[in-house]
């Protein structure tokens, strides 16, 4: 699906589509005749910010959006190979500068309108003109995208729709190794029905003040390419969907799909227990209890992401964070194994650098593991020039006590607990932490690049794969407002490596994976962030849902075949 780094988990218990091997194999229900009908309920912890994929980055919103909208390509749920979804095939020219997607025959929106390349182009253009999106990075190398954004043209010249809407041809100014996958959702990740949205935003204009950002369809999808059709949305309660008879894989067997809001993980767990919820992601602490329940079955996958404790290398209050030795000391100073054992109860893996363990490019044998070692941490601090003060807190070279804030979002029990743990363990190595909790949105606002008034924060990334390109996280060119190098990591040699991984010219997998590991080695030494752990995705579903077989790539890839056994 969308490879873009842009999705950040708002709540840990939400599950994203990712890779690796399923721990449980689904029961075969062959030979039984499916019984259509019934209602599916998926549990989430919040309302969607919007149903318009251009405007959101949080995984909760995607739980709603993926019911109705689709993109051109997908990862195979079992092999995680890139393969067609709405596109039948895709072709990248030898020089890597022309990309052609060819659509399947007979694609129709739920309202009967044909699905064409115009819908694709519309979504791309709406994304480029949106003032509220973070999703324009996919178009960096697309010809004419910047001109369109600036209002110099009234269309993106580099995106052409041909063969009566059946093929989409994209031209690039420069090779982009990840172009095929990055652009399969027209930047937004999911394609919008242009016919309906045009009445609010017509892209054929040079007036850049017109955007798709505020219109009623953003909260009420007018037509659907996905398995479900939007019916209604009750804020704070639920969104209801009915089956899409025009779904390209066939109409779902189940009649109705509900995404329901619960106040927290405890409520979701209780609702799973009583059978009110059909399937949901759960928290690690509940795994043991739920596996004992007869009516439920559980799935555990490695995640394409990790949770981190990041440092602002340009913070005014904590100049020591720019020092590599200090960051190494802070990495030695927090017991990450204890986090895995006691906070996520073994449902995670240690991570030592930027590639998540689930990724094919992952290699850790020559990486420093930074085992928990307070003595070593103190040594490193002193080596960096810090002096112990009489109050047990180190003084930095300029004489200021080493006190700083670490911020994270609430409600998120895991992160709050990690924060309190780090606070206490850093006290032991002479670094004083002021713990601050806030909502996820506030946290995002606080850590926006390129402020200097924040020091450390705990958050997580998900959806970092299967492609290993993490250019937007570590390249110094992404130290810019609303971009992701919020930790201000600058390393020219890493920049060069990242450029090659991102833009080739050699996009060969083996070559790239080698470069990726070189990046990892440098990051492992520089520790711009502390990689805390990569948490597993835990999904539970009712046993009576047939063909429910989530994989690390997707939970609902075959939802049209699910049926409820009485």
């Amino acid at each position: 699906m969308r490879r873009l780094v842009a999705s950040i988990t708002a709540a840990l218990l939400v599950v994203t589509a990712c890779t690796a091997t399923p721990s449980t194999t689904p029961q075969a229900s062959a030979g039984e005749k499916p019984v259509p009908g019934g209602t599916l309920v998926r549990a989430v912890t919040g309302d969607p910010k919007s149903f318009n994929p251009i405007l959101v980055t949080d995984t909760t919103s995607y739980r709603y959006i993926e019911a109705v909208y689709q993109d051109l390509l997908r990862r195979d749920p079992k092999t995680s190979e890139l393969t067609g979804r709405l596109a039948e095939k895709f072709e990248l020219s030898k020089d890597g500068l022309t990309l052609t997607y060819t659509l399947r025959d007979g694609l129709k929106w739920s309202d009967g309108t044909p699905f064409t390349g115009e819908d694709y182009k519309y979504t791309a253009e709406a994304t480029m003109r949106s003032k509220r999106t973070t999703r324009q990075t996919a178009f960096t190398n697309v010809l004419g995208a910047q001109d369109y954004k600036d209002g110099k043209t009234d269309e993106i010249k580099g995106i052409q729709v041909k063969d009566g809407g059946k093929s989409i041809v994209i031209t690039f100014s420069k090779t982009l190794c990840t172009a095929v996958e990055d652009l399969s959702g027209a930047g937004a990740g999911y394609l919008l029905p242009s016919k309906h949205f045009k009445q609010y935003f017509d892209p054929r204009t040079t007036d850049t003040s017109k955007t798709i950002d505020d219109n009623p369809l953003n909260m009420a999808p007018p037509a659907s390419m996905g398995p479900w059709v939007f019916k209604d949305f009750k804020p704070g309660d639920r969104a209801t969907f009915t089956k899409n008879p025009n779904y390209y894989l066939g109409a779902p067997l189940i009649d109705e799909f509900i995404v329901k809001v619960y106040s927290d993980a405890a409520a979701i767990k209780a609702a799973l227990l009583v059978g009110e919820v059909s399937f949901a992601g759960v928290e690690p602490k509940d795994w043991d209890e739920l596996t004992k329940v007869e009516s439920l079955k559980g799935f555990e996958f490695a995640d394409f992401g990790w949770n981190y404790l990041a440092w602002n290398a340009e913070s005014t209050k904590a100049p020591w964070l720019a020092n590599k030795l200090v960051r190494q000391a802070l990495t030695y100073g927090v017991n990450r194994q204890a986090i895995i054992d006691k906070i996520v109860f073994g449902h995670g893996k240690l991570v030592y650098a930027a590639q998540p363990p689930a990724n094919a490019a992952y290699k850790d044998d020559d990486l420093n593991k930074y085992p928990f070692d307070p003595q070593k941490a103190k040594q490193l601090l002193e080596q960096a020039g810090a002096k112990m003060g009489s109050d047990g807190i180190y003084r930095w070279t300029d004489g200021t006590p080493m006190k700083m804030r670490i911020e994270t979002n609430q409600p998120n029990t895991v992160r709050e607990t990690i924060l309190q743990l780090a606070q206490e363990q850093y006290k032991q190595i002479g670094v004083s932490i002021d713990a601050q909790l806030m909502s996820f949105n506030t946290l995002l606002e606080r850590i926006r690049c390129c402020g200097k008034d924040f020091e450390g924060w705990i958050s997580g990334f998900t959806g970092l794969g299967p492609d290993p390109d993490q250019e937007s996280l570590w390249h110094s060119s992404h130290i810019a407002p609303n971009e992701f190098n919020r930790w201000r990591y600058r390393n020219p040699s890493v920049d060069r490596l990242l450029d090659q991984i991102h833009s080739g010219p050699d996009c060969n997998e083996a070559t790239r994976n080698k470069l990726v590991h070189d990046v990892d080695k440098q990051l492992n030494e520089d520790v711009p962030v502390i990689w805390l752990y990569s948490g597993n995705n835990l999904i539970f579903g009712q046993k009576n849902i047939q063909n429910f077989a989530p994989t690390s790539v997707s939970t609902i890839y075959n939802i049209e075949q699910w049926w409820i056994k009485k």
């Binding site: 309302d47 509220r132 804020p235 106040s263 209780a270 227990l273 949105n441 926006r448």
Partner: protein, 319 residues
């Protein structure tokens, strides 16, 4: 009577004005920049856009001018758009209001239906076992923090024993089933009315004992009226009058307490909306929620006064 109601409504105007002033000042004098709050989680905001919004919102005007503009908007119930839902705030509020009213009205009724008889029983059995039991439970009930009561209800009766649903308004697929709704209301209504249930008996008992020691009761007894008749005819009526006054306090609890109760029971009402909006810095919703909550409170005070006049024959409405 109509005149009386009208007079009370007019009297409420300065109060309403004070409330609006306070909500206005709270958002303006907060340490956070209102423009930053308005943009919420929006990215890609340039300094020019901030200035533009500042101007559009009239934030570059002097405070009194801003306040008058604000009053004008409130008068036509225009609180702007929600940052999170990107819809008019009043729409969002209107969707949630009925859910909250269901809870608070039910809680008020439950409080009266359980609380008043207990108070009467306690007074009539003064010094004996029922009196002691009622007084003990009501003082204990009053001391229990409502959020803890709700939490235990959900965790013990819901999650652990599975006797009651753990939250939300209806089971899936039974949205129009009234019995199911009532079943889901047990927890939140009990939590909300805990204060009332434990307050009324104590209050009523004291009032009744006071009335029972009045001369007119002794006179009635000496006239040979039977005990029960005296109680129902005179004592109860007079004892209930102060109870009506105390309704104000209860209403404050009902509307304020809804924040916690709805949060615990996952009830999509105004209280939860308020909490979520606050956490998400959706300030238009927060502001509107306070105004609507306060307006409800004022209305119920007026309603209370009207009831008071009806119940208390000593008060003659100046007409």
């Amino acid at each position: 009577m109509g005149r009386f109601v009208l007079r009370r409504l007019v009297q409420a105007v300065p109060t309403l004005f004070g409330i609006l002033l306070l909500t206005f000042l709270l958002t303006r004098l907060s340490p956070s920049d209102p423009v930053a709050l308005m943009f919420g989680d929006r990215f890609n905001v340039t300094e020019e856009q901030r200035q533009e919004l500042r101007h559009n919102l009239g934030l570059d005007e002097p405070l009194p001018v801003q306040f008058i503009t604000y009053l004008g908007k409130v008068a036509v119930l225009d609180f702007g758009n929600s940052f999170i839902y990107h819809r008019p705030v009043m729409q969002v509020i209107a969707e949630r209001l009925p859910n909250s009213l269901q809870l608070s009205i039910a809680a008020l009724l439950v409080g009266l239906v359980i609380g008043v008889p207990l108070g009467i029983v306690a007074a009539l059995t003064r010094g004996r076992l029922p009196d002691h039991v009622i007084r003990l439970t009501s003082v204990v009930g009053h001391a229990i923090p409502t959020f803890w009561f709700g939490l235990l209800f959900v965790l013990v009766l819901g999650v652990q024993l599975r006797w009651f649903p753990v939250g939300s308004m209806n089971a899936i697929g039974r949205e129009s089933d009234i019995l199911d709704r009532l079943w889901h209301m047990v927890g939140p209504v009990l939590t909300l009315s805990l204060g009332a249930i434990s307050n009324y008996p104590r209050f009523l008992r004291t009032q009744m004992l006071e009335e029972l020691s009045q001369d007119y009761v002794r006179t009635a007894h000496s006239k040979g009226l039977r005990g029960r008749l005296v109680v129902t005819r005179h004592v109860l009526r007079n004892a209930i009058i102060p109870l009506v006054t105390s309704l104000g306090g209860i209403l404050t609890i009902l509307i304020g307490g809804a924040v916690i109760t709805e949060q615990i029971f996952n009830w999509p009402g105004l209280g939860r909306l308020f909490f979520e909006a606050l956490v998400n810095k959706d300030f238009p919703i927060v502001q509107a929620n306070v105004v609507v909550g306060s307006a409800l409170l004022l209305l119920s005070y007026i309603l209370r006064d009207v009831v008071y006049v009806i119940v208390d024959p000593r008060i003659k409405v100046k007409a």
